[in-house]
Symmetry: C3
Subunit: 337 residues, 3 copies
């Protein structure tokens, strides 16, 4: 893919070369995200952060990434209350808002809506989640985290990953599977209640690509021999009957004792966040908060790098970032170390 | 009017000279709005974007215009939930917020409230709509669009314009009539259901100024021989009984077939947006979306130019904009061409 | 206290030396807040403005203060609707959001929550109000206002202050008492309905420090011989039964006539705002709006100075502010004179 001027709508746009290019630019963003330097490469540019449903983490992460490149962010989180209720089409919204911005980040509860919006937009659009469908920057930051945590190069072939929890509704595990499908010889251990198992077409596609797929309801067994264990929250908001979610909440949990008994010593622990820390859920226990292999907060930090890289690539400034770099002169501590 | 330090509350403040000056500055803003250059003339300035009712388009347009001049924007869209409910007067809100900003943009559902606020404000206030009353930057961008689309100079004398739809509640057509009343010999064709016709005092004032005013319920007749046709949405939110709006919605529609049969070849199509694209309304059909004379998205683009010009004039920096201009170095395509 | 890198959670962190240092830096911020110069000392820095309950004034004041130092602001006001409802802990929110920001300003309805958040944050956190508990920047700006209005140095010993209204639920008067307790020989006249009197432990602590404390329900008597009278609103939102608030609203009012009859000529009038200007409340009448000793809007202006100083100190840039100073070139009038 030629990134410059492209919409970023789906991980299916990415081939291995694209991923490699993106991750290299993300690496180069680190001194800026970690406040060692700052750059003004996008000074004067405007990002439209268009959230048709709330998502604090994703919204702020994208906004921060754009600010770190020196640009302005204009946000909209109240859009339901506005023109849309007066019968405005996505086509019109896209034509109008794209006249105000250099790039648009959009989240919408309806699958396909971001793609529909992008067809009418006059500027690049980045999909920040369209309902149960796609959230490509999340899958990319997950893969980038695996790379950094495992200390591997650009080939993910041969890794062993367990995915745990609500694999039916969990958008992030779907996307991560599709992305990992670009590589060879991966072992997927899918741990979930039968009713919340990974959709069959994803399992089939992994198998057809020659990967090993193990499906189990036995967590202790499933946790063994992985490089990475990726936990997920029960996506209660996607259940037709929310009470049904209560049945599954709390069924698969990772805590210090379970980790020590079942996981290989350096197994990386990931979670797309938010994790549900209520007593009845608690799929990833706080007693692991100080564990050196708990990667969940490095994972969100990596989101900033990936989003900066997406902006730098789609707006065609990746080679100019460093030209306007200056040292940071305010207190930063070494908080990313 | 001396723009510097002035509040912009009503189009009645504007004479022909003011309009001419504003449009000239708007022309000069084009390279910045179209991302050929960027300027930092308002670097360090703060605009307070104060929305007491939601309006994504207007809010983002103003915010973007201020960013394009290099300034910061501090937004408030949650004001109902806040100090106002604790009995704070507009006077106090104005005294306080004007201590935080260099200029304030304000929308409020109650007619006259922005003017009341401005009397207590220590900084210039721009009215972004006060209920059914005024929305001066909209009227100015409409007139500016007519000028550019028709390729005329600073005299609008002799043009022929049709206004279609809800002329009773449509604030934009009221304001546009008042603004056009500064010029001579204009032909207004007012097409609406009788119950939603243009208020009598506006019609009278146009006639007294020597303009030709034709009122009709016959759309085919009314469309003939105009330079511009300006469509409007049924303003259902202003009806006391919203069901009544259903009676009128969909009665006057423009689409490709009607346009071709009735309009002069180069008739410019305008609409203040949002247009209601639901099947039962659809006052301006999507089958005209590719039509070269459909000006509705150039119209919203022009809003950015007008708002930049208002900021540059009221803050007294119009001659300094170009001094800090630099080339834009990120991907922009030729999306405004 | 060493400000650099510190959380600002409570006024109990401050000793007299800290207050003196803060006020000196606040004085140095004046040319920037008053738009004579602007600085870019925090160009590239990001402040996370995290409001779990609405507060337009406080939120915009902090945001403006950060912009005036040249930094970006990423705001969150919709947080209730978001990850928190999915069971995310404050710990997780803090770990995540602190990866996106250089400093966080946080308001939350629950006492202690900001402190809890700060323990997990990787960047300094400023408490912008945690329910009935603390709001340190408000107390500091109140004290700073007393200093400037009375034209005194760094010793507040010997001043005479009356506090009027809801002294039970009014967080600002509690904090101001605690802060004044750093100094000696102050006379506090506490005017309130008995049911809304100052909490006993605060009164006791003032008396033990040797201050004079007069408690009264007689406003006329209480107003005599003060340097400053500090009025407060009935905090109806903190009453278990909101109707109960109606009993007290309007009981203690200051207006022109009462001021002239009872107060010393130059008594400074303060109020933390918002004041309740509904007829049934009106604890501080609008007929004093032009009075030269009405300090309430200078008080909110001072809030910007104090917040700029807090940012400059905690981020360690107080000595660099002036290095990047340039003259302001846009219209500013002399609105702060």
């Amino acid at each position: 893919m030629n990134f410059v001027g492209s919409h970023i709508l789906s991980i299916s746009q990415f081939d291995r070369g694209d991923v490699e290019e993106l991750f290299q630019v993300a690496d180069e963003m680190e001194p800026y995200a970690h406040r060692e330097k700052h750059t003004r490469v996008l000074d004067g540019a405007i990002m439209g952060n268009l959230f048709f449903e709330p998502s604090t983490r994703t919204r702020v992460s994208f906004g921060c990434a754009f600010n770190l490149l020196g640009g302005h962010v204009r946000e909209t989180t109240d859009i339901k209350a506005s023109a849309i209720t007066k019968g405005e089409s996505l086509y019109d919204t896209a034509r109008v808002i794209s006249g105000y911005s250099d790039i648009i980040v959009m989240r919408h509860p309806v699958a396909g809506s971001v793609e529909e919006f992008s067809r009418a937009s006059r500027v690049p659009v980045v999909n920040a989640g369209d309902g149960p469908s796609e959230h490509p920057s999340q899958a990319l930051l997950d893969l980038y985290t695996i790379k950094k945590e495992l200390g591997i190069g650009n080939d993910f072939g041969g890794i062993r990953i367990a995915m745990v929890g609500d694999l039916k509704y969990g958008r992030t595990v779907h996307s991560l599977c599709k992305l990992l499908n670009l590589y060879s010889n991966i072992t997927f251990t899918l741990i979930s209640p039968k009713e919340l198992c990974m959709p069959e077409e994803i399992v089939e596609s992994l198998k057809q690509s020659g990967h090993t797929v193990i499906e189990t309801e036995n967590m202790e067994d499933g946790l063994k021999d992985n490089d990475t264990v990726y936990l997920t929250r029960i996506q209660e908001e996607r259940f037709e009957d929310r009470n049904e979610a209560d049945i599954y909440r709390g069924r698969f949990r990772l805590n210090q004792a379970i980790y020590t008994s079942n996981c290989k010593p350096n197994t990386v622990i990931m979670h797309p966040l938010p994790r549900d820390s209520r007593a009845e859920a608690n799929e990833l226990d706080n007693d692991l908060n100080q564990h050196p292999n708990l990667a969940i907060f490095r994972q969100t930090d990596n989101g900033v790098l990936i989003r900066m890289a997406l902006f730098a690539l789609t707006l065609g400034v990746k080679d100019q970032v460093h030209k306007s770099a200056v040292e940071v002169n305010w207190y930063t501590e070494k908080r990313f170390k």
